[in-house]
Every structure is written in C-alpha cells, then in structure tokens.
C-alpha cells in the first residue's frame, strides 16, 4: 500500500499539493500520491507569470486522459515562474513529481500560511487514512 514517495523539506495540503520554500519564493507541485491517482498526465494548464494566486483557489489544471484535476494554490502570492517543460513533457509530473515535475514558483507573501500545512509525517498519516477509505 504505502509505497508513495513522501519527501522531506516540503509542506503538503489536504488536496495533495506540495510547496517548497526556497528563500523568498516557493515552488509548487503535485504529490506522488496525487499523480498516481490521476494516472498518466497528458496536459498541464499553467498559470500566467505575474498573476496573483490565492490559497485554496485553483491555480493550474492537470489533465490525464480521463480526469481533470485543479491544482489549488497552497499559499497566496504572485506567480514568478512557471515550468514550461511541462507543456511538452507533462509526464514529468508522473516521473518526478517533487523535482522536474514542479508546476510554478510563487513569491511567499505570508510565511504563516506554510506553517499550517502538513509536514512529511503528518502527510504520511493523511495519505494512509485516505487509502483506508
């Protein structure tokens, strides 16, 4: 069961996004568990650089053949960079969700928003519970 990759150094949301603070900015992506549930990803609709995203609101769209998932912004902020590699290789989210499969980079506005998200341990428990269902 629990063979999903859950890494350290990132924070997780209940909708299975991750966010990795890197100084003033943070990278955002989809967890290994989420990419597995979606299946083979065929298309990613990236946000535009410069737009403001709001925690809990849809900020990107990830599509597999038969499913569409919103990527909800884990934290507020302005998008400063998007992973354009995903336009040609959306499968990077499948193969390397925490690395080359990152989706966009956002300016951190409120560090406290990170604190309330789950760490590795909490997310492990959360995923285990979801799996139970």
């Amino acid at each position: 069961m629990m063979d999903y990759k859950i890494v350290d150094g990132v924070r997780y949301t209940q909708k299975h996004e991750w966010v990795r603070p890197e100084g003033e900015t943070a990278k955002v992506g989809l967890s290994d568990y989420a990419q597995d549930k979606l299946g083979e990803i065929v298309f990613v609709e990236l946000p535009e650089v410069g737009v403001e995203v709001e925690a809990g609101k849809s900020s990107a769209v990830i599509e597999s053949v038969k499913a569409v998932a919103d990527l909800y912004a884990p934290i507020d902020g302005k998008v400063v960079e998007v992973n354009e590699e995903l336009l040609d290789q959306p499968e990077l989210i499948n193969s390397d969700p925490y690395g080359e499969g990152w989706v966009y980079k956002v300016e951190i506005r409120d560090g406290n928003q990170l604190e309330i998200l789950m760490d590795k341990k909490a997310y492990e428990v959360f995923v285990a519970e979801e799996e139970e269902e």
């Binding site: 083979e40 065929v42 298309f43 599509e63 597999s64 053949v65 038969k66 959306p90 499968e91």
Partner: protein
C-alpha cells in the same frame, strides 16, 4: 485479426475522378471578372482523387471495422441501443420529406407540418405534458432548451435571483455542463445507500435560489426514484421547477408519465427511446415538452392548425427564441414518428415491460459472478461493479475488451461515477432470451479468465482489427488530421 487500413489520402492518385458533372451550359466569363484575384484561392485544394469504385471499397471496408446494433448485442447502458427498424429509413428518405427546403411556403409543406403536429400529439400523451418543441437536435440540446425555458419563466415572474440548479450525484455529465451553459451554478445532491436521491440532503439544498432540479428517473443506476412525490413537493414548495431528463424513458412508457410524476419540463431522446439509429454519434433529436404555464417560453416556431391549415406559429412574445437554424432534426423526427405509429400504446408499454424484464433477467444471471452494489429490482438497466475483479488485476475496462474478443459490444464502463469500476448494462427489449443467456455465459467465462490469468485479460483485445489503443499518446501528442509527408 490485425488489419491495417490506408487513409483516403494515401490512396489518392493524381488525375483520378470519382464523379461526372454535366458541362457548364451557361456562357462562361473569365473567373477574374466574377471574383477579384485577391479573393481567389492561390494554391489548389489538396483533396483526394479516387475513382468511384475505390471510394465504395474504402468505405465498405471501413464499415466492416465498425460494430453496430445490426452487428450484434450492444448493451451500452444509458444509450438504449435497441433495434433500429428499417421502415424508418424508408419513410425518412421519401422525397416529400428528405427534399424539403426549410424556407418553402407553408402551403407547400402541409404534410411535413402535419407530421410535426401529429408527433407532438403523440409525445404529449406519452409523457403527460401540454406542449412540445421538436427543435432541439439532441438530448443535450434539449436540456439546454429546457433550462432556458425555465430561466425565462422565472425571469418573467420577476423572480431573477434563482441562479442554482440541483443535480443528483448519479447524473450524467451533460446535466452539469448544460447548467453552466445556461449560466447557472450547479448544486450536487448526494445519493443515499439505496442509490436514490437523498431526500434529507435535497431538503437541505433547496432554497429560494433554486431554479430547478434535473432528474433522470429511473436514475443512471437503473433505479426508480421511489420518493418522487416527496422530491417534487420539496422542489415545488421552494418555488423551483422539476426537469425530467428522458434518457431512461424506455423503462416506463405506458406505466407512468413524467407529467404525472410532477415534472414541469421533459426532454426525450428520440434516438434512444424511439428507435432512430445513432449514426456513430448522431444525428439525434431531443424534443422538449412542458406544462401549460411554460408554453409561452418555448422556442419559436410551434406548429399549429387553423381552418384545417397547418402553420408555423411565431407569435409567442415571451419565447426564448431559436435553438436551431430551422426546425431541428426533422429527418430523425420522421423516423421516430414512424416508430411511434407502428408501436401504438400497447406496443410501447410492451416494449418498456420487456426492456425491464430483460434487464432484471440479465441482472439476475450476472449477479452470480459479479458484484451488484444495489441489489433490488431494476428498471431498464443495472450497474455492476468490477471492483473485485480490478483487485485481481483486470477491471471494468478490461472486461469490456474481453467482450469485444467474444463478439459483443461492451456495456458502458466507468459510469455512473458513484460506482467504482462500473459496468452499466442495458439490454433493451429487442434482444432475445438466447442472446441474454449467451452474454451471461461469456461474462462467466471472463470472470473465470480473470481468476486464472488477469494479466492476459488486462492486455486484450486480441481478435480485433487493432489492439488496445494508446489513448495517452493520442492526448499527449495530438494528431488530429492527416498531413502530406
């Protein structure tokens, strides 16, 4: 069994002709005089060039690579793949119907108007509604028409805050898509453990912003919403209207009418219930019927009769307007009318009775080997879950491919969404007991195959002209047209 097939374009040879037109018999002018050069195509159009015989062979071969109701059993749930009577094709092809121009003077199309008028009378009686428009070209088009009519009704009463439409979780995806298209918000209503609309949740969800509830009854699970009286009361008391999605009308003809259940608006799918062929995806027809108070809002024109003359009535000042350039898929309506006239009241009731009997009989056979999450009397269809098989390594989609290898069209898979790995099976009334027995036997074999070698089942089909197709590649790198190399 694998068999490659060339495209038209790959068969093309320069200079080959597939047609003969008469010579132009009016004095011709130089083209440049008729049409300025800058408006002319500079590069000749690169359409294929084939002889007539090659064209016939090409499309005949393509037809052999296709499975229709005439090929075999097609228990595609929610699609009502019943036999498509051949006489329907004959009548629709009569020159007096197929060669009418929509702008012809009314006195030259009295037969067509009479047919539309008569069709409306039949549908009114069948459904218990007060008037119909035959303009919508498909079920989804009917849904949109119906919601627009409802919207116009509320607005006309000065009740413009109703911005929400309720939809049960079991609904087809078209319902929420239609709701958005009509500018409404969707509110999902959960189902209870019986698979029916959760009445308590519905009561919670209904309020002064509710415009309508869209309901398919029987539902996509093939179950009759037993609480329909209470459901209707709940919605009506809050000032909302009740919309009947007629996708599953084939279960109840002659037994109960949507109008008597309390529905205010109904759409029918003539291509399902009324036996017109699906044509590989269309054309369909989705007439919409309404109760008296909604008639003023129907699309124009309606067909009426005055002094024994039929005419298009555009005099509906509150009408929503037009949904189709002309009068909808008239050719499909001719087919459906032919069917209705051949069946009559007893025939339609027998059709629904047999559809329900066939479904219950097949459900009873299949539940011996497959999991039936909602084990109660079904209507015209039922839903199995292949969750147990999936755990063994071959799910609903794989079972579908195994059926292809054995000459059957599979049921609808992965729908409705509330059943995991769903197999939605609708046998229809036009199938024999022998066919149902044979299908059940094959399903039993497949269950056995999964026990023995799920891996093999998961890689089928093996006996089709192509193997399992890679949908991921098709979506990642879309190739949507042929291009010259």
């Amino acid at each position: 069994m694998r068999k490659p097939k060339a495209l038209l374009f790959e068969m093309s040879r320069s200079g080959r002709l597939g047609y003969s037109l008469p010579d132009c018999d009016v004095p011709e002018k130089p083209l440049a005089e008729l049409i300025p050069e800058k408006h002319q195509r500079s590069e000749p159009l690169d359409l294929p060039e084939l002889s007539e015989g090659e064209i016939i062979r090409h499309f005949t071969e393509l037809s052999t690579r296709n499975f229709g109701v005439d090929t075999g059993f097609y228990p595609l749930g929610s699609c009502t793949m019943k036999y498509n009577p051949k006489v329907n094709e004959e009548t629709a092809a009569l020159s007096g119907f197929s060669l009418l121009h929509p702008c012809q003077p009314e006195e030259t199309v009295q037969g067509a108007l009479e047919l539309l008028y008569k069709m409306e009378q039949e549908l009114k009686e069948l459904t218990g509604m007060d008037r119909f428009t035959l303009q919508p070209a498909a079920g989804a088009h009917g849904e949109l028409t119906g919601l627009m009519v409802i919207q116009a009704y509320h607005h006309h009463r000065g009740d413009s805050k109703r911005n929400r439409v309720l939809i049960p979780l079991s609904a087809h995806g078209t319902n929420p898509a239609t709701v958005s298209m009509a500018g409404y918000e969707v509110v999902q209503v959960p189902c209870d453990e019986r698979g029916l609309v959760d009445l308590e949740a519905l009561k919670e969800a209904v309020d002064e912003n509710t415009s309508a509830l869209m309901l398919t009854n029987p539902s996509t699970l093939g179950l009759f919403e037993e609480d329909i009286v209470a459901i209707a009361r709940t919605v009506h008391e809050a000032g909302g209207l009740l919309y009947y999605d007629g996708a599953n009308m084939n279960a109840i003809m002659g037994y109960i009418r949507p109008g008597d259940m309390g529905f205010d608006v109904v759409h029918l799918n003539l291509h399902k219930t009324m036996s017109t062929p699906h044509g590989g995806g269309g054309p369909g027809s989705g007439p919409v019927g309404v109760k008296e108070r909604l008639i003023p809002f129907l699309p124009v024109p309606l067909v009426d009769n005055k002094n024994d003359q039929f005419f298009f009535n555009y005099d509906l000042p509150e009408s929503i307007g037009k949904m189709h350039s002309f009068y909808g898929n008239f050719g499909v309506v001719v087919k459906a009318y032919t069917y209705l006239r051949m069946m009559g009241a007893e025939g339609l009731k027998q059709a629904s009775g047999d559809a329900v009997l066939n479904a219950n009989y097949l459900m009873n056979l299949l539940k011996k080997n497959y999991w039936l999450p909602y084990d109660r009397i079904c209507k015209h269809e039922f839903v199995l879950s292949a969750k147990p098989e999936k755990k063994k390594g071959a799910g609903a989609g794989d079972i579908a491919k195994a059926l292809l290898d054995r000459g059957f069209h599979p049921p609808t898979v992965y729908f409705p969404l509330i059943v995991e790995d769903a197999l939605m099976i609708e046998p229809t009334e036009t199938e024999t007991k022998e066919t149902l027995d044979a299908f059940a036997e094959v399903m039993t074999e497949i269950a056995k195959d999964i026990d023995e070698d799920a891996e093999k089942v998961a890689h089928g089909p093996y006996n089709t002209v192509v193997g399992r197709l890679d949908e991921v590649q098709a979506a990642r790198n879309p190739v949507l047209r042929w291009e010259k190399k």
